[in-house]
Symmetry: C2
Subunit: 125 residues, 2 copies
């Protein structure tokens, strides 16, 4: 139900940056490293939580935590180039990556990445 556009079905969309080969390599490395780190956090937290289980409710709380983390990670790590500036913006805000990790990306990517990170810092909890 989107409204008609002057240039329907064009690809790439005008505002969507294109990624060079070297930028794709930088993006892949930063993405994979952040994901790996996040998964290691979940592994560490799972062991720690499991060791503190004292009653059945603790078990189902762990199950709920794992389900939520799995869904969140699935949603968050979306390696489509159309999503990647948003993904990195959030990861930058969460300090899972630094600007240093993204060095080599053009300003057309860095600008929306920084903007989202700043927006989240301003408005998130």
């Amino acid at each position: 139900m989107s409204s008609p556009s002057a240039t329907p079905n064009t690809y790439p969309y005008q505002n969507e940056p294109t990624w060079s080969k070297s930028e794709k390599a930088i993006a892949r490395t930063a993405f994979d490293a952040a994901l790996k780190q996040e998964l290691q956090d979940v592994m560490r937290k799972t062991k720690q939580t499991a060791n503190q289980i004292k009653e059945p409710a603790d078990v189902w709380e762990l199950e709920h935590y794992l389900t939520e983390r799995r869904k969140e990670i699935d949603r968050k790590y979306d390696y489509r180039y159309s999503q990647l500036t948003q993904v990195f913006g959030r990861l930058l805000y969460e300090r899972r990556i630094t600007e240093e990790d993204l060095r080599g990306l053009g300003e057309d990517k860095m600008k929306p990445i920084r903007s989202l990170a700043e927006l989240l810092a301003k408005y998130a909890a």
Copy 2:
């Protein structure tokens, strides 16, 4: 969409045993003890599995195990008197309870309980 019955909507159903006060007390004790034991098994297994986590896939395997166990336990421990002989039949088959735990129940309960336990022993894996 059930076919018409000679005695529709009668309660208790003719073949459903009624439970005396003392039988209810025995049932409750056996039921609670088996459930407690089963939950302790899950707690022990969760700690053990969590300690052996080596890679992310192990985490999601634990999540899947917990979800399945929660659903299975929810289904299995159904304390409606209309379901109780089936519940105990299965628990007897699984050796989570013994006939000793059910001592004091009338033969009208023990017979279907034993029958189901034997049936499961014969046909289950």
